[in-house]
Subunit: 143 residues, 4 copies
């Protein structure tokens, strides 16, 4: 079953165009990513406790429809690539009211220690490796 993250747009997230500032959608992606990890019972905070940081290597975002304060978005993140060193996540974001696709986005990440040195989960954190790996499998199944 897909994980869906629902959240309302805040007033301070709009700009003078009257709509959400495009930079904020990048933050919503992070929210969805973190909530989804937490839902899988390995929150970003747990990761950091055991010494894993997950920086962002790349962001791609196409803006298709705009929402504004008071609107509600629903974000569905999916891991489409993971090898223990890098991970690619795709996001579906729709406006709850209209069902329209708001953005089409993807993010790439690596795994590092606290000093931001790259690490290989397969070697150093097998349990975490398996968790992420299984998520990719599951993902493929319902594609």
């Amino acid at each position: 079953m897909e994980f869906k993250y629902e959240r309302k747009i805040n007033y301070y997230e709009t700009d003078k165009m009257g709509i959400v500032h495009h930079s904020n959608y990048i933050r919503f992606l992070e929210e969805a990513r973190c909530r989804w990890m937490e839902h899988q019972d390995f929150s970003m905070e747990k990761m950091e406790e055991i010494g894993i940081t997950i920086p962002t290597l790349e962001i791609n975002c196409k803006y298709k429809y705009h929402v504004t304060s008071g609107d509600t978005i629903i974000i569905t993140p999916k891991i489409i690539e993971f090898n223990g060193v890098r991970m690619t996540i795709l996001y579906k974001m729709i406006d709850k009211k209209t069902g329209k696709e708001v953005i089409e986005a993807g993010s790439k990440h690596c795994f590092t220690d606290k000093t931001l040195k790259p690490i290989n989960l397969k070697k150093n954190y097998e349990e975490v490796y398996i968790k992420f790996h299984d998520l990719v499998e599951n993902d493929i199944l319902y594609k």
Copy 2:
């Protein structure tokens, strides 16, 4: 001669990783874009006064090196595509101290009226069309 936008990183732009949060670089690109337009004597505010809004259609950003509070970045925006309806800008962002490339990014934009309806600068705002068009020319020249 290239336009360069220099700015310091603020404390509130960092996150608990100790470096600039990746969403903020997208904002720095907008700053560079707006300062550069202002430098060309047609600031975003002037555009809006005459009825032109310039929403963002797409953002692509590769994070290569991280900066943090107190560091200074230098951003060089370049229009590489413009046809009066859409525009593509590429950005070079380096860390002033080390000269290292911080991100590699591009943004796509369209031109709309105040109600965010697309407009064609060539038809409706020839003077603005020529300005942008010339910038692309110049750009190609010093490539």
Copy 3:
């Protein structure tokens, strides 16, 4: 019965101190204010539709305890003053896990039209005036 707004802290809301940047708490207050108005069935968006904008005149915030990403805060806003022209709101914010008071804050607001010219709700929007006025009454009752 008191309205309580519960929300999780996001990663991008922290700074390199490892805790929420102090400016973000001001945004959380706005969130609580807007959710509470919506709960009363006159959301900020409805207000704006009928021509009422509610700018902030003053913010006072004492930082007592820090939260960080993954923590959950619970905010309870209360109108303590309202006369149709101005309004004062106090906020209680606690950390859900520890129950500790995170900040002690208040905000003052006025009511304006779309051009930000002050208006008097009692004269121009009696229905809205009564709604706000009743909330202050209720508030006094459970003090």
Copy 4:
């Protein structure tokens, strides 16, 4: 001679009211505070290198006049209280174009180690203590 921090308002700092979102002024105060410390040759980064963090204990801000993207503000910070344990700073912020006072604000801070435990600069960092102390003296002189 007074230190003045001049900065332009960015597009992403506005909200759908068409003006700077009130939370952003709190960030501008931090910018002014940090630039001013840097101007005194003890930047926030230097402080952190030697183990001093300067959290915010309190913010008070009265919003008097609004600016928007493209406008330029000039901020003048002044230390009015300092005892080695706590510090109070007042800020004057004007709109460069009109000279109008934008906000009237103050911030209170303490000094801590990296773990956010309070420290007394007089005991632990006499050199820093003297620097801050002298700034208060100078301040009183030109009042």
